[in-house]
Amino acid sequence: MAHAIEADRLVKHYPGDVRALDGLSVTVGRGEILGLLGPNGAGKSTTVKILTTLVRPDAGTASVAGHDVLRRPGRVRRAIGVVAQQSGADPGAGGRANLVLQARLHGMGGADARRRADELLDRFGLRDAAARPVKTYSGGMRRRLDVALGLVHRPQVLFLDEPTTGLDPEARASMWAEIARLAGDDALAILLTTHYLDEADRLAGRLAIVDRGRVVAEGTPDALKGELRGDAVHLEWGEAPDEARVRAALGRLPGVRDVVLDGPRLSARADDGASAVPAVLAALDQAGAPVAAATVARPSLDDVYLRYAGRRFAQADAAPDAAPEPAAIGGAR
């Protein structure tokens, strides 16, 4: 088994001429978090539904935990935990009852199921609310229960479809810590979809940027940002240095370009700002123009998104043709 998740050129159409997936391919390894990042309607949830055996693709193949999702859906279901975009907890039942039933459906015995439910209630801080109907839970509590439901049977592969949407900053931070732990300590393979650039940056070891049903860029967050070829490097002196000397010193350094000197301030671009700065500082020191302050601005994932999807993330998300309602899509395209 090479990868925990392997999706190859998935295609999915919906009625009304909607091409939800247009040849999407991704892979995820054990202990890895792959972030699927994309605006509304990009095809993230459709990908998750296909990989979790809910939806059949029109074309393409996929395997999860080594089992083909079309030919062996039963085996796939045993191996996966799913946290759907929409909560799947039974609102009338309590948190514990939801967890125990989920364990039972996965074939666990009574004592085992109850023990596992209590373990997860503790782990997700839901002990005190265990008997209360889920409809009385706050959004954060409900989302934590959703994740707990996905983990009951100790899956090898976990799907998290927008696990933190609608949570307050504190709840998001604790959810992030929990997700990071799942990939770290428990070595789960995790496919995480998100709208949040900071979430993707923070959690995902690797990112796939999805736009209109295909992966338009893929790599580690840093590599993707690095590919923009050019961190912004800003330098400042107490008083304006000698321009000729500064230019001569920087000209000898490979990978530093677009030097603009404006009085005591200089800005340039460097392939990898963090490693270029020490060399820049040393060269200027030697040239007799020691720098007072230096800052490096990394390109953001928003810049990455702009480059690969051809539009700013925030704009893409708000674009009317990417609205989540199928009707709106059908009409717009």
């Binding site: 055996t53 799913v82 799947g88 907890a89 039974d90 459906l105």
Partner: protein
């Protein structure tokens, strides 16, 4: 096979505990059949005097009719619970567990069957309190309850099929509106067959509500006609199996269509 049984058991237990949390619903839905029972009972009291009706009191004749009409009415709304499951996301959560698809359908069938049996017994008891008598005894009543459960399951399966294929609450209400009156009035629920216009009698012969009533009344008679019970019960059972299979396959097509 054991997976199917345990899956059905757990899914059923869940539905029943939901029912136990809101017992008022089961009682509230009994108001309507109560009204039928006493309204029709009063209104048509004297039809037994028509020559050839063949029953000693109209109330005796009416109780099985109301029992079966209630089963049709109650179960035609079963798809609403399925719509709730779809809209709340619980359906998809169950579909990505290894639980058997037919266990999900069966749980709904068992819940509907138990609710229907309970309500049928209540109607039978209230009818008795109002003066109806059941010469066939416990055996006859058991057949009536079983027949009402089967008709109920047929309607529940159709209602669930609509819910899964069309995902529209109005269609489910439409099923009740469109089927309840024709199914009950084009049957022997309220009028003896011998007194019906010929065309209604022909239609009624193909009406599952009539099958249930013929089986029930044949068993409830002082001198039960078990041949008729077996014949009509057999047709009903066959239709029940067919409609459950339809509901299971519509669950699969729901899965394909989403």
């Amino acid at each position: 096979m054991s997976g199917l049984l345990t899956g059905t058991w757990w899914m059923t237990q869940r539905r029943l505990s939901a029912l136990a949390r809101t017992p008022a619903v089961l009682v509230m839905t009994l108001v309507q059949p109560m009204i039928w029972l006493f309204l029709f009972g009063e209104l048509f009291k004297r039809v037994v005097e028509l020559p050839g009706f063949g029953a000693p009191s109209y109330l005796d004749y009416l109780v099985p009719g109301v029992v079966v009409m209630n089963a049709v009415s109650l179960n035609s709304f079963a798809g609403m619970a399925t719509m709730d499951e779809i809209e709340r996301g619980t359906m998809n959560r169950f579909l990505v567990t290894p639980v058997r698809r037919s266990a999900i359908t069966n749980a709904g069938v068992v819940e509907q069957a138990l609710s229907t049996a309970f309500q049928s017994l209540v109607i039978i008891a209230l009818g008795w309190a109002a003066g109806a008598r059941y010469p066939g005894g416990a055996g006859g009543l058991a057949v009536l309850v079983a027949a009402s459960v089967l008709v109920g399951v047929v309607l529940a399966a159709l209602s669930n099929t609509l819910a899964l294929l069309l995902r529209d609450r109005n269609t489910i209400i439409g099923l009740n509106v469109m089927l309840l009156l024709p199914l009950t009035f084009l049957s022997s629920a309220f009028m003896a067959k011998g007194l019906m216009p010929a065309w209604i009698r022909h239609v009624a012969a193909f009406n599952p509500v009539s099958w249930a009533l013929d089986a029930g009344r044949a068993a409830m008679a002082g001198d039960p006609d078990w041949g008729s019970v077996a014949l009509h019960g057999g047709w009903l059972l066959a239709l029940t199996v067919l409609t459950i299979a339809l509901a299971v396959s519509s669950l699969r097509s729901y899965q394909r269509s989403q």
